[in-house]
Every structure is written in C-alpha cells, then in structure tokens.
Symmetry: C2
Subunit: 160 residues, 2 copies
C-alpha cells in the first residue's frame, strides 16, 4: 500500500527524558505538566481550543526504530499482539493520549497529565468529547481486572 | 520539521461511498457494520485483540487534498480552528473513531458503529480502555450543550 506522509505540527515538551521510569498512561501522570509549541504556520488552527478542558493528542513515537507484532506489555508476563496493547513499537508508531488543557497562549499550550517523552513530535490535536469518545466497553481482554492499575505503573526498559 | 512516513496496515470497508449524508461520529453510526482487512504481513499483531469489546481506529482521510485552519464544523455556523473540531481537512488528516469489535477471523475484523468512508486506509488499532481513555471533561467549548446531538447529525458536502 502507498506510503502516507505527515509533518509534525509541533513539539511536546515534558519532564521525561528517558524511556524507563515513565508513567505508562496519562492516568499515571496526574499533575505532570508539559507544554506544546505549535509551529506558527498552524497556530491559527488553535482558535477556540481553549474552551475545552481536555484534548486528544496524536503523536509520533520518535525513538522507535522497529516494530514487534508480538510482545509483553507492561504489567504482563504473557505475549500479546501489538494491536491489543498500547506499546510504542507498532507498525505505525502513533501514540494517543488524552490530557488536560490548562491554558493556550499564542502558539503555546500548557497541558497536564502528560505521559510522553520530552521533544515528542505532535501530529494532531482534537477536542475530547465524552458523549462521543467514552463508550461502555464491557470486555477488556487480557487487561480485565488490571486496567485500573495502569495509573500506578511505571515503564521499564522493555521498549527501548 | 522532518517528514514522517507511515504505511496503511489495512483497509476499512463500510457502506459509505459518498462524503455527504454520512454519520459525523460513531455515535451516529449505531448498528452500521463494516469490516477491516488487515494486511497479512501484520496479522500476527491481532493476537488477543478479540478479547476487547471496543477498539480505537486511527485512519487516514484519504480523499483530503488540503487543509483549512479555520472552518465551520458540522452543527455550527461559526468559524473555529481545525484543532477544536473533528473535521477531516486537517494538516495531518488522521481520523479517530472508537468502534465495537464483533469478531476477528484470521486477518478480518468485523466491526460495528463505523462512521468512515469505504476503503479508508487504516493506520493503527488500539484497545479501548475506559479507565484510561474516559476522562471527566467539564468544558466543551463551542460544543457545550450540542455534543449529545452529534449522533443525530449527518454530514453535508462542506468538506468535499
């Protein structure tokens, strides 16, 4: 299939400079603050974003050089398919996080609950809309009974 | 900033062959069924995905040729920045939908509540995890008091 080309719209700045010891999801990054610098070419597209309390970030796992179709997720000692967990070594290494938006000033976003590495390239921002985005998922596969603990876990070096 | 290259991992097949008259979100596509054919090179990565009732799809809005930083979203007659709504004409035209996963058979996924055009290239699949992905958003910007109606709306031709 044809290659698709994207360009980062900005860079995410966070306190996390190493892949080990990080929160594995935004639920584990409560209170962690970061900023996003949007390329000035796209700043006009931020109009009215400041009305939303939470935003979806899609970003590029920029340190990933390869993918593993089967691996052991954090919190787990069994192998699972990459599409059944959130690890970064994916065929298209796109990350997804819902974070709190505290403030927008010109082309700078001040965010909270951020769980990504410093200097991660940002691909897209969308408003988080609970009526659309929160579904009543009643089957959680291998994460059944574990997903509420994801906020307590830290990464190790398995995806370096 | 550097260009990022992705390759589709599969194709989404749906009943929607025209951009006008479509549901504007999965909440408006209740019961609409589709299939995803995953490229056999990536099929191994589907292991254990069938344990999840809902999945996140990230896909490429393949008919989009340009972006508009400011536009009028569906359900609205005011202009807003592209990052404050979900329209397809984005700098990086990546779409996001949470859909129901009914069945996985080899490299074919049977899905429901799908709101995308037929033959949309798929970039990634992630399990939907309510503990992580549902946040209590208390500010909805221009969508305040409107977002519960998104399921009743159909697209027009404004993003053709």
């Amino acid at each position: 299939m044809n290659t698709i080309e994207y360009k980062p719209i900005g860079i995410i700045y966070t306190p996390f400079t190493k892949r080990a010891g990080m929160p594995i999801q935004p639920t584990g990054a409560k209170g962690i603050k970061g900023t996003i610098k949007i390329d000035s070419a796209y700043a006009e597209g931020l109009k009215d974003l400041d009305g939303f309390s939470h935003i979806i970030l899609l970003y590029h796992f920029h340190l990933v050089k390869e993918y593993n179709l089967i691996a052991k997720p954090f919190m787990e000692d069994k192998m699972h398919g990459i599409f059944s967990f959130r690890g970064p070594k994916r065929p298209n290494p796109i990350g997804f996080s819902v974070v709190k938006l505290n403030r927008v000033k010109d082309n700078i976003l001040h965010i909270e609950n951020i769980d990504v590495l410093n200097e991660t390239p940002l691909l897209d921002i969308k408003p988080f809309i609970p009526d659309v985005d929160c579904v009543n998922a009643d089957k959680l596969g291998w994460l059944e009974g574990k997903s509420h603990k994801m906020g307590d876990e830290k990464s190790d070096d398995r995806f370096n």
